[in-house]
Structures are given as C-alpha cells and as structure tokens.
C-alpha cells in the first residue's frame, strides 16, 4: 500500500507499472486520475488551491484503503493526492488498484474515490476572474458514497 499527500506532480504510468512490477499474481490494475478543469459552475477557473488537515489526511486515506481491502481481495493499492496551488490541466489525484481479476479492481477503485470525496479532509478553493471561492460539497457525492453502505448491508458476506 502506498499513500502519498504531496505538492509535486506524479507519473500515472510509473505508478501503474509499480503496482504490478514483479507481481505475477496481479491480473488486473485499474486506475483513476482526477484533473483540474478550466471551468466549473459556468465560470472560468484560473487556479485551484487544495487545503488539507495534515495530521488527519493520511490517516483518513489509509482507513479508506483498509476498508476497500476488507471488502475485496486486493493485491496492492496506491493513492496519491496533491495539495497546494494547481492550475487547469494539472493532475490532482491518483488511485490505482491491483487485483487478481478486473471486477474487484474496478469496484475497489471506484469505492476508494467515492469515499475519498466524502471523507478525506481536503478542501478546494477556485480562483476565478470574479475572485476566489470555496468549492461547495455536492449532495451527489454523498449519495454515491451512501450507495456503498447500502450494498454492504445487502452483502451476505
């Protein structure tokens, strides 16, 4: 498991390769890369500043990955989240999951992102031509995370 919170960029190709290098049991690697867009809510976005709660961030991400590893049979997970000042086109977040088969790798990657969006202590501030503004949390993010709670209740395992 690799969990990093950093200001610097990351190389998604290198991270994907590292998830299965020398690991012949890995049959599937899924990955997600989140990026800074140049528009939000109809306004141009010049900058995106990521604030976080340093003492809690890594602990929170580790807890989310532990929960994913408890739900699915995973061989390795990498989560990298950038903080600080970013610009459109920049990468924000990487989630990579290695597993024996694709089903678990796809599901765990989506689960980790859904929980990261609703539980990990990051906050985005957008720089627009009209000034800076904090990004408001979306109710839809809570709904997609809640969906996993419901599916775990139905899961006999």
């Amino acid at each position: 498991m690799k969990i990093l919170v950093q200001e610097t960029d990351f190389d998604p190709g290198a991270e994907i390769a590292a998830l299965h290098a020398g690991q012949p049991r890995v049959g599937a690697v899924t990955s997600f890369v989140g990026l800074v867009r140049d528009v939000n809510e109809g306004d141009a976005i010049n900058t995106l500043t990521l604030e976080h709660y340093p003492a809690m961030t890594e602990k929170s991400l580790r807890g989310i990955v532990d929960e994913a590893m408890g739900r699915w049979s995973l061989l390795d997970v990498t989560v990298i989240h950038r903080v600080g000042l970013l610009n459109p086109l920049d990468r924000i977040v990487f989630v990579g999951v290695a597993s024996g088969h694709r089903g678990e790798a796809f599901a765990a990657c989506e689960f980790i992102m859904d929980f990261l969006k609703t539980r990990a202590p990051f906050w985005k501030k957008e720089g627009t031509p009209q000034g800076d503004r904090w990004v408001e949390a979306r109710a839809t993010d809570d709904e997609v995370a809640e969906r996993w709670q419901q599916s775990s209740k139905k899961d006999p395992a």
Binding site: G34, A55, K117, T118, P121, F122, W123, K125, E136, A137
Partner: protein
C-alpha cells in the same frame, strides 16, 4: 479540561482563527458542549455552527459527531464538508 480546536477552509476564514485551546468544565464532555460554547459567541460562530449549517467534525483526526466524547488533551477539528478528489 483543555481541548485544542482547529478550523479549516471556509470556516477558518470566517472565524479568522486557525486554532485555539478551549477550557471546558469537568474531565469529560461531548463535542456538542464545544459547539455550544462556540455558538454562544454570536455570529459568525452562531450562524456557521447553526443546526442546519452542515459543518463536519473530527476528534483526534477521526470523523466525529456531536455525541462523540472528548477528554482533556484531545484535538477537535471543525470544518466544511470535504471537497477533495
């Protein structure tokens, strides 16, 4: 008992403070007692920590609720809903 309280993002800006140490009576309390103490300061505290304000809390770096217990030396954080990813 003394509890360190941290504020983040929009709430840190609204309150104009990053962190402070609060002195509460007794040796045990719930997060609700801290929120009550802050609301009594009036606005912007009362408004931002109002019943329908939608803020989030953590105790010792774990997400918490109003009924989460706190004790001397704990670190409590109050912040807006998270928006990472």
């Amino acid at each position: 008992m003394k509890v360190k309280v941290l504020y983040f993002a929009r709430l840190r800006e609204k309150f104009g403070v990053e962190s402070e140490v609060l002195d509460l009576p007794g040796e045990h309390a719930y997060v609700a007692a801290i929120v009550d103490m802050l609301r009594k300061r009036g606005d912007p505290w009362a408004k931002e920590l109002g019943l329908d304000a939608g803020y989030r809390m953590a105790v010792n770096q774990t997400l918490a609720g109003l009924v989460t217990p706190v004790q001397n030396g704990d670190e409590v954080a109050i912040f807006p809903p998270v928006t990472g990813g």
